[in-house]
């Protein structure tokens, strides 16, 4: 299938490396793309896929390594250079002006001064010939997401690229729209164009891709033909099985322990047309227990966290119970006052205000629960008290910083995360809900955070950890549940859980997953 007529690949990447601070996002990555092939780039979130394609498209410059285009070494210093070479990219997040028409949006990116009319005609012709019908005169604001993606694809095709990079193209499409897209990709391949296809949907990769390169923790862990693999074997390559599960001291009597966080038939309609609805989620977290929730990003984890934290309220007050009290109608402050603590996924801008000092960020989540300690008469903030408490957390969590009380944005991701987790631990909460505790955090800080979460549970609190990092969940959880398409499987006790079984649940590959559940509901 991969026609390699003149012996050289269209694109060759040798030893490409990109380092952010202490994180090596891409570590000596090799990649070959032949003419006329659809090449899949697989990997978990944070495996380095985005960093790699950004370097190929000129948005990031590599620290080292070489890129060959048609056998010639090239430096891709900007997206403009990439376009000139013949590399086009369709991003996961579109960059379109809603108030302009499709043709006007296309004209903006071509910047060759050709009149709108001729661009519209070309776009219309191109769109029909590729089976992606598009009316160039329609306003982007009136179009569905699938149609908007067509504009991005047409815009990319108008520049006659040799290589098209598609970043998670089906993540925003309905199954029918995805099928249409696959037909178009087949046609492009037949014309000899190459496609780099980024996805974590293994079934569609098996369906349309000729070869695959798998990344894990920034390194290439394998090349394969996805048609020869199973979804399970691909998942194993992505997740990695070389990390051994930590031997855990068994915790006795969990079944009898008091349930501190109970979620009963929690459902939520999608807040926007493209967010995931939550479907009838039930889960109990008991004192002394760490429950992990695994799942591929965008399967409802964010929506679930918002619902449990009280950033979004529930109709049914009993659908979230904290320490045996109905909390579904309580705001996040009310839930905190019941003894719950929350750590969101996004550090800057959600868990912390970037331009505020650490001591002020302490106040962010604790102004109500520790009101007496931190806020004096007449609403005056006790700056001495919050300074002391901030220093206590900094010491307890070993937060490394450059100034006594720096702005949150001045800390590295790992150190800020240690502070945010420490801020909640400092309260000794009886319920702790954490979303992606160590995303983008270096190994040392990650270990520290995981250890702290285990210790919190062993001291009698209920800990719920949502994570895309399976290694992490296997390290700290007493049981793991999987979220897929807004549904939550029953927690699988850690003794029975394997990477393969969890990985399959994550891909939705095994619908009858409930049978493994041993949870006493």
């Amino acid at each position: 299938m991969s026609a390699d007529q003149d012996g050289t690949n269209l694109l060759e990447v040798r030893g490409l490396t990109k380092i952010f601070g202490t994180l090596t996002a891409c570590d000596h990555v090799d990649l070959n793309i032949a003419r006329g092939e659809i090449h899949a780039l697989l990997g978990e979130n944070g495996a380095g896929k985005s960093t790699l394609v950004k370097m190929l498209f000129g948005s990031l410059e590599p620290n080292s390594g070489q890129i060959f285009w048609n056998g010639e070494p090239v430096r891709i210093t900007s997206p403009g250079v990439a376009k000139k070479l013949g590399i086009g990219m369709v991003f996961q997040h579109f960059s379109l002006f809603e108030a302009l028409t499709a043709a006007e949006n296309i004209a903006l990116s071509l910047d060759d001064g050709s009149p709108i009319g001729s661009i519209a005609a070309k776009a219309r012709a191109l769109s029909y010939s590729y089976g992606l019908p598009l009316d160039p005169d329609s306003l982007v604001g009136d179009l569905s997401v699938g149609e908007r993606q067509r504009i991005e694809i047409i815009r990319c095709l108008l520049q006659a690229p040799q290589l098209i990079i598609l970043d998670e193209p089906t993540s925003v499409l309905t199954p029918q729209e995805a099928d249409k897209l696959f037909e178009t990709l087949d046609r492009l391949r037949a014309e000899g164009k190459s496609i780099l296809y980024i996805s974590h949907r293994l079934e569609e990769v098996k369906r349309i891709c000729d070869r695959a390169t798998v990344l894990r923790h920034g390194k290439v862990v394998g090349h394969c033909n996805p048609r020869d693999e199973t979804a399970a074997s691909l998942a194993r390559m992505m997740v990695g099985s070389e990390v051994q599960a930590v031997v855990r001291a068994p915790v006795a009597g969990l079944e009898a322990a008091q349930p501190l966080l109970e979620i009963r038939n929690l459902s939520r309609k999608p807040a926007t047309p493209f967010s995931i609805p939550l479907r009838n989620i039930s889960l109990t977290v008991r004192a002394g227990e760490v429950i992990g929730i695994a799942g591929v990003a965008g399967n409802g984890q964010g929506e679930f966290f918002e619902s449990v934290s009280g950033e979004v309220l529930q109709q049914d007050a009993a659908s979230v119970r904290i320490r045996s009290k109905d909390a579904g109608g309580l705001s996040i402050t009310g839930r905190r006052l019941l003894g719950a603590a929350f750590v969101p996924e996004e550090r800057l801008g959600h868990g912390a205000a970037p331009r505020m000092k650490l001591s002020e960020n302490l106040l962010l989540s604790r102004h109500a629960t520790d009101g007496k300690a931190f806020v004096g008469i007449g609403g005056i903030v006790g700056s001495g008290a919050i300074q002391t408490a901030a220093q206590r957390i900094i010491k307890a969590m070993d937060v490394r910083k450059s100034a006594p009380d720096p702005e949150a944005a001045a800390l590295s991701g790992g150190n800020l995360q240690k502070f945010i987790v420490g801020r909640e631990l400092d309260r000794s909460p009886s319920v702790m809900v954490v979303n992606q505790p160590t995303w983008g955090v270096d190994a040392g800080a990650a270990a520290r955070i995981r250890q702290a979460l285990i210790e919190l549970s062993r001291s009698g609190s209920a800990v719920l950890v949502i994570s895309q990092d399976l290694d992490e969940l296997f390290e700290i959880s007493d049981a793991i549940a999987v979220m897929h398409n807004g549904e939550l499987s029953k927690p699988m006790p850690i003794a029975e859980a394997t990477f393969e079984r969890i990985g399959l649940l994550m891909g939705g590959a095994e619908p009858g997953h409930a049978e493994h559940g041993l949870e006493i509901a």
Binding site: F20, S331, H350, R355, M356, S412
Partner: protein, 375 residues
């Protein structure tokens, strides 16, 4: 060669302090060009514009009269803008404060005594706050853009005042002039030092408001809430702060202060209602707020500077025959340069040569700047 803006890892404290001064210097330079083009020696013009209006004690009193409403309004607006809420309609809230506060002296002139003035001031604040509540309600209920609604309500207020003083509230003994009766003695805001000049208690209100709002913003939990909601609304929601409550708080506070400024102006400097009671204080206060870096204490200084542009505009008109619209031009340039110079706080300017340096060194430098961004 080209200029490139490079994001600073931290806000620059130096340029945070310097940027108003750089902006002021650029305004002076642009103003010099303007005067030169008008055929006036810039030095003479600047002397008349900026120095002479503040060379005598009574003139300082005039400065205080002009600065008081600017500071009062701008202090309230600074809270809005810190909360990322764009109240552009302080001019209308100022006018409604003036109208509400005038209810007592115009409709009940027989009501006299020491209670009159405090009640008027209170009514003025209520009027300004109530008028500001309209865009707040529209924003929270219908998600309208508060910039448009608050701005459009300014024109409604102006025309309403115009109708009032020509219609129901016109002084029957006023020979048909569009104005209300002169306020009674109890309804007049007293002058501070009647022997030295006309300055009234308005400037005291302005200074007290500036100090109180400074304490609110820098020391109190509510001020923290304002700053969080303004800079990272999602973090604010995580903290349990409500956006709708914040919209109302910011609008009501700034509306009340604008209303207080309005009734102070009417009962102090003017003494009755007229079709026009403000030379655009509500809009100029936006410049004051930004020139003062949205810090209430900085706003006091900025208010004095902008008040001087009003006095200077009048001075050049009478001395040189230049339109007093030149004051508006100066105010506009000042805001333009202030906003422009604020770029320097978050970005530094780098000169980029088109010639490629040795590839290795380029990569390293780029990497190190990216490193800073990433960390």
């Amino acid at each position: 060669m080209r200029l490139e803006l490079v994001k600073r890892p931290q806000r620059s404290m130096l340029f945070s302090a310097l940027s108003p001064f750089i902006a002021f210097a650029l305004t002076i330079i642009a103003g010099a060009v303007l005067f030169a083009l008008l055929g006036v020696n810039p030095l003479t013009a600047f002397n008349i514009y900026f120095i002479e209006p503040v060379s005598q004690v009574w003139q300082l009193h005039e400065l205080a009269i002009k600065a008081a409403p600017l500071i009062l309004i701008a202090v309230g607006l600074s809270v809005c803008y810190k909360a990322n809420i764009w109240n552009i309609g302080a001019e209308g809230q100022f006018i409604f404060g003036g109208i509400f506060g005038s209810i007592l002296p115009v409709m009940f002139p027989q009501f006299e005594g020491p209670l009159v003035l405090p009640l008027m001031l209170l009514l003025g604040m209520v009027g300004g706050a109530a008028y500001a509540a309209i865009p707040a309600l529209l924003k929270t209920r219908f998600n309208t853009n508060e910039i448009l609604t608050s701005l459009m309500l300014v024109y409604v207020a102006q025309l309403f005042l115009d109708w009032l003083v020509r219609g129901p509230w016109r002084d029957p003994q006023g020979h048909g002039f569009p104005q209300t009766i002169q306020f009674g003695d109890w309804a007049i805001l007293p002058e501070l030092m009647p022997d030295a000049g006309r300055a009234n208690w308005g400037i005291v209100f302005a200074l007290v408001a500036a100090v109180l709002v400074w304490i609110l913003m820098s020391r109190m939990l509510k001020g923290f809430e304002v700053r969080v909601m303004g800079s990272s609304p999602r973090a604010g929601r995580f903290a349990g702060f409500g956006l709708d409550r914040m919209v109302f708080f910011a609008f009501l506070l700034s509306g009340a202060l604008a209303g207080l400024a309005g009734i102070s102006e009417v009962s102090g400097a003017i003494g009755q209602l007229q079709p026009v009671i403000s030379p655009g204080y509500g809009f100029t206060a936006i410049i004051v707020a930004f020139l003062g870096r949205l810090n209430p204490l900085g706003i006091v200084a900025a208010g004095l500077v902008l008040a001087l542009t009003y006095l200077g505009g009048e001075a050049v008109q009478s001395a040189l025959g230049i339109s007093d619209k030149v004051a508006r031009v100066f105010q506009g340039m000042l805001l333009f340069f202030v906003l422009g110079c604020d770029t320097l706080i978050h970005y530094r300017i780098r000169l980029v040569g088109l010639a490629l340096a040795a590839p290795d060194s380029t990569v390293k430098r780029d990497a190190s700047s990216k490193l800073k961004e990433a960390s």
